[in-house]
Symmetry: C2
Subunit: 224 residues, 2 copies
């Protein structure tokens, strides 16, 4: 997409994710426009997208606020992700090409390399991991599904999750990818879906384990 509108989008998004814009805070278009160095027009565009992705909420009179996710909300997001991504895996099993299978293997080998050093290379793990899941989504060949998953997968959350992983968990992740590959080899959609469900659920519990302290704050008061 266009330059200004994109810059505004990623700028605002990163300010939210970094906590620079705190949950519950009201945000004014003009203030953001200044922060991003663009006019209100692209900012409004960006806000629309962020609202669709539930980073931002609007009250009944169109004022915007930074969304405040409780642990409950996060579990719901993970649950939806598990559902959608295992659906993707099932579809992918019936459609995946040899080339895509090969690329999956490459990235899972990359993951193995990244974690078999004595100090695991988490950024490298994450990069290969991201590609791995993207290829499955590509093989599933559904724009709809791709769009919906984008709403539910937050890479920063994936990052914070991975940071909770000890070596054992990282290896297990790698082995689960291997099992997915086996399911794809056999074109077994049910198997692939089942493995994917467990894969995502485990990620949630790793995340929740680490964050259960400040749990379950309510959303701020905005209209449904």
């Amino acid at each position: 997409m266009s330059r200004a509108s994109d810059r505004a989008y990623s700028h605002i998004r990163s300010m939210i994710l970094s906590g620079e814009l705190q949950p519950g805070l009201q945000i004014r278009e003009e203030a953001l426009a200044e922060l991003c160095g663009v006019s209100r027009t692209p900012v409004r565009d960006a806000l629309r997208r962020l609202e669709a992705e539930l980073f931002i909420r609007r009250n009944e009179s169109q004022r915007s606020f930074v969304a405040d996710w409780s642990l409950d909300d996060l579990e719901e997001a993970f649950q939806l992700r598990a559902m959608l991504e295992s659906h993707a895996a099932r579809r992918a099993a019936g459609r995946i090409s040899w080339d895509q299978l090969a690329r999956l293997r490459t990235h899972n080998d990359g993951i193995k390399l990244a974690i078999t050093d004595k100090t695991p290379d988490v950024p490298k793990f994450l990069d290969h991991n991201r590609h791995f899941h993207m290829i499955i989504l590509e093989a599933a060949a559904s724009d709809r599904l791709t769009g919906m998953l984008a709403q539910v997968i937050e890479q920063p959350v994936v990052l914070r999750t991975a940071l909770q992983y000890d070596l054992e968990n990282l290896m297990r992740s790698h082995r689960e990818h291997d099992e997915l590959l086996a399911a794809f080899d056999h074109r077994d959609g049910d198997w692939a879906a089942a493995v994917m469900t467990g894969h995502i659920r485990r990620a949630f519990h790793a995340y929740a384990e680490a964050h259960k302290t400040g749990a379950d704050q309510p959303m701020n008061d905005v209209a449904a």
Copy 2:
């Protein structure tokens, strides 16, 4: 949302659904602005929303086209709907209030009345049906889920589906709602989810039966 932007949205949407804007047609913001009697600004807003709902697609250079759904796409939409809506039913089972249960019953009674006349009143059936499903979504209490389902449920498709229903199917629909009510009474999420899955899948087959003639046209050529 605001007046002009809303008018543009529903106007364009209805033009697409009525076939006045044919699938594959390129649409220009200014032309739509004239048709809607507003400026380009609210039209762009509307296009963004319609794009998110996959009524409109954009190619790599930001030109907009009316989306062209194949039967495959439609099945995928129904599949996702079945998944999401049964998830909603499961959640709802654990959270639904007495008031919501009572309202569900009222609407299902309304459905019964609408179809037990000698000439079934389809609009009335649809209205009660819509409320019925909305209440379940409300009980599920997940903004995320609500938003996603909005992307996947098209009331015009529901309408065309219901028009395919003979009396037997309409009654079956009513009985399935009854079974959902029973599941909710017992707070049995698994049961509710299972019934809902069947309920939606049956709707898809009724739709597909009637539309299988002009099946499976490819999407128009736009970037992913």
